[in-house]
Assembly symmetry: C2
């Protein structure tokens, strides 16, 4: 399972990039998993009034509901990122895209929205590409750069870059 | 991990019994997990418009969102009950309560709503207790019987029965 992170500050476009990459690699036949950290210290939204929500409310540490094609699990336990990734490892995925968790040490696409974000390029590890709304900000740096203003047009170039990276 | 099923036809009170047992055992300090099958061949309700739903819509086979205390995973892959139980096995649970899946072979509390349901007592395996709205229907059978009309009052007796069962 190849693991890549999409990192950047709030509103830098992480979800858009992650979704486009999921879409691209899924269409290419990859078995893609994704993980994101809920912002603001909150909790994932749950569909209330469902039976699984009732189980959860009653105290289940793990409450699951299986449908025809989908299974949904709600886990009420602390997980480190490593433990979660280990869990993802059970699902025979080709690729895991992680949105956020920018302090983790996996290969990263870092998103730079403005000058204030530039410090991320010093702070974060394992950067393999940079997405930016202002190409001038990051040119002359030693990263492949992708223009976020034309994400749709550039997503296949970014995906190809990731693919070359994990193909070695 | 001890595994018990709550089995019965639709509207026989499975969710009520399951919730009460989750509540009871959780309050007793057990680490309880639960699993139910979504009826009608449908899918678990998902909170739409969330980012994790977007990941899922984009094609993620496993899409997860981690909050402060909760992690929610949506799995788009076929699971047999055994494979799901194996997954639950990773979470160090004391007790797994399974609502439905009545053809499976785990120890069962079977719910009998009316005479038409009585055939379940022949068809299902590993019955350890029967809950019923009409005690006359099932008396003289060789099972501990719990009156569903007074579920709240009887839940600790049912839970004790389960506990004695798994204590040997």
């Amino acid at each position: 399972m190849e693991i890549y992170q999409i990192a950047g500050y709030k509103n830098s476009g992480k979800t858009a990039v992650t979704n486009q990459l999921i879409r691209y690699f899924s269409a290419e036949g990859f078995k893609v998993g994704s993980l994101k950290h809920h912002g603001h210290g909150g909790e994932p939204d749950m569909a209330e009034r469902t039976d699984s929500y009732q189980h959860f409310e009653s105290g289940s540490v793990v409450s699951g509901v299986q449908g025809e094609k989908l299974t949904q699990l709600t886990l009420r336990m602390p997980f480190g990122l490593e433990a979660l990734i280990q869990l993802y490892g059970k699902f025979s995925l080709d690729l895991l895209l992680i949105e956020g968790y920018k302090q983790a040490d996996y290969r990263k696409i870092v998103l730079i929205k403005n000058e204030a974000d530039l410090s991320l390029l010093q702070e974060l590890s394992n950067i393999i590409a940079v997405g930016t709304w202002d190409v001038k900000l990051v040119e002359n740096r030693n990263y492949p750069i992708f223009d976020m203003n034309h994400l749709q047009d550039n997503i296949s170039a970014l995906a190809d870059h990731i693919r070359r990276d994990f193909d070695g």
